[in-house]
Amino acid sequence: MSEAILKVSGLTKNFGGIKAIDNVDLDIRPGEIVALIGPNGAGKTTFFNCLTGIYTPSAGDIRLCNPKSGLKTKLNGMKPNKITEKGMARTFQNIRLFPTMSVLENVMIGRHCRTKAFILGAIFRNPATRREEEEIIEMSYDILKKIGLHKEVNEEARNLSYGAQRRLEIGRALATEPFLLLLDEPAAGMNPKETEALVRLIRQICSEGHSILLIEHDMKLVMSLSDRIFVMDYGKKIAQGTPEEVRSNPAVIKAYLGEEVDA
């Protein structure tokens, strides 16, 4: 087995006196689909925000290792855009598309960190810029085809259906050419048919060489898709392992049952 592409050790995040994340370890190996589950408020999204640089972790270590170049980077304290450049992209739980930009442009934004044209290039449109622009459009269109939105290229993103918006977020993240994709509740609000299509899409993306870390509440999706599962509760990691292992873990059952009883 090759080296982990993401290795998180002892990650802790405090808000005031509250430990939203408490000493969590996690690792992802190339080609894996890993799920992060846990009851509401367990700290999953906070965990994502720490990974992607939106929050600065209070303690711990986040290391990213590019499987192709073997380049290792410590992500703590890095700006979100730098982290994306390093090859880790994400989607958001509460969809954050660019609402009045077109579907195609949303994906084109994802190409930003992989392209170079600047002020002078934009003004003079020299051959290099033009070529780059064509490549951006081409590649973005290919991604739209992959996620099935190529018929809506010029539609404003806010006019898309909920499921389509979620897919567009994935497409936009893919455009940044990540080797690790973080999906925050990608199936939330989808109907069963859309969920099915999403599962196919995630499998396809994974088969194309992107590793995936996802947060999800849809247990059926998680169990059928994931290679390994990490479980969090009250900011702590309470279990990890294959779907079978996790399913039979008493701590996990207690966390979920406890939640159900409470509700």
Partner: protein, 410 residues
């Protein structure tokens, strides 16, 4: 028929305004002579005026509702007239050509005075387009834009006075100075959000003006710098009217260049990043866009145009003093952008022409013109909050089968 209920409502509104304006409109006191003048006729006019306006606006609303009811469902087909013209090249090109021909023949059709006014208006077009990059496209609320304008103007005034530098040499320098200052200021403040940024830029604009006012050794203080050279044309000596026409063409040229550049910028990698930044900063960063750098570029590019126009302003007026660079000036340029339609080039052009030419032609209203100006600003915003002409995003055409064959039109 007009319902009675609405008449009653309008009557109540009239009463309310009669009450509201009572102390200011009706009573006029002379505290020295200790006399009071009761101007009851004013109350009558106010009541009558608000009654009529309230009825008219109600009629407008009712008709609008009816129209909206009829049109429900096919909104996308009845695209606004202007939008269609802008989207269709077969309309846009001939129209642009006609505008260009008109602009070029303007000095021959109208008097020197009219040309001079038009030059001023066109300068504001460029200022508006520059600020549009900052506010309209990148969404950074800048209330101190006039500072960069002042930097450009004083660059030329000072370099001309001390080193006898010519207009053409200073034109790029003034722009670059302003852009540099934009970076310098932007660095600490651009991480502020929304309205905090607004007040800091406002303060910065005031600081620049106050420095110009107080630092006599540097800027000659409030009495300003006079006798600034007009722009030359290969050393040619020009008559007075010739000079005005010349500056006019110069500004027309600058407008064309600005439109070209701003248009290209908007439809580039950078322009997309600005738009994305305006819509969602966090998502933007997560997509790998360097927030600070992108904002700084927008800020300093906007400043660059202000600097250029500042140089032209100094050359045109041949005199600069700090009084020309007050907050009101920033507010007017901002109004141009918002009124025209944020992010829309054509909108900004319209906005500038309307806002700058309006007070000139409102001169007939003499002392009422600023009142009208303020009122019109409010009314326009209430009726068209998204501006006169909203931005037309570029659309892309793809041939059905092959993915790569992308052709686009702007």
């Amino acid at each position: 028929m007009f319902p009675l209920k609405e008449l009653k409502r309008s009557a109540l509104i009239a009463l309310w305004f009669a009450f509201l304006t009572f102390p200011i409109m009706v009573i006029k006191v002379d505290p020295i002579e200790r006399t009071v003048e009761w101007r009851w006729d004013n109350m009558f006019f106010i009541a009558l005026g608000s009654f009529v306006i309230s009825i008219l606006s109600k009629v407008y609303l009712i008709r609008k509702e009816r129209r909206a009811g009829r049109k429900k469902g096919n909104r996308s087909i009845t695209e606004p007239f202007m939008q269609r013209i802008l989207r269709e090249p077969r309309f846009l090109y001939p129209l642009s050509l006609a505008v260009l021909v008109f602009a070029l023949s303007f000095p021959y059709l109208f008097s020197t005075y009219q040309t001079n006014i038009m030059t001023t208006a066109l300068m504001y077009v460029v200022l508006g387009l520059g600020l549009n990059i900052v506010v309209g496209v990148a969404g950074l609320l800048d209330l101190g834009y006039v500072a960069f304008y002042a930097v450009g103007a004083y660059s030329y005034a000072l370099l001309n006075m001390h080193f006898n530098m010519g207009f053409w040499a200073v034109l790029p320098i003034g722009g670059l100075f302003a852009a540099f200052l934009g970076i310098l200021l932007g660095f600490p403040v651009l991480r502020l959000r929304g309205d905090y940024l607004a007040i800091v830029t406002l303060g910065f604009g005031e600081i620049i003006r106050l420095i110009l006012e107080n630092w006599n050794d540097f800027s000659q203080g409030p009495s300003g710098i006079a006798n600034i050279a007009r722009p030359g044309f290969f050393g040619m000596d020009m008559s007075f009217a010739g000079g005005i026409t010349y500056i006019y063409y110069l500004v027309v040229g600058l407008v064309i260049v600005t439109i070209f550049v701003v248009n290209r910028l908007q439809n580039s990698r950078l322009g997309r990043a600005w738009l994305a930044l305006r819509e969602d900063e966090i998502a933007c960063q997560a997509m790998g866009i360097d927030k600070t750098k992108t904002k700084l570029v927008a800020f300093s590019l906007g400043a660059f145009w202000a600097g250029l126009v500042g140089v032209i302003f100094a050359a045109k007026t041949t005199f600069v003093n700090p009084a020309s660079f007050t907050f009101l000036e920033s507010a007017i340029i901002l109004s141009i952008v918002v009124l025209g339609g944020m992010g829309s080039i054509v909108g900004v052009i319209f906005g500038a022409l309307i806002l700058i030419l309006m007070p000139e032609y409102l001169r007939a209203l003499s002392e009422y013109r600023m009142l009208a100006f303020g009122g019109i600003l409010v009314v326009m915003m209430v009726f068209r909050p998204e501006g006169l002409i909203s931005n037309v995003r570029r659309s892309y055409q793809f041939k059905k089968q092959s993915s790569g064959q992308a052709s686009d039109r702007s």
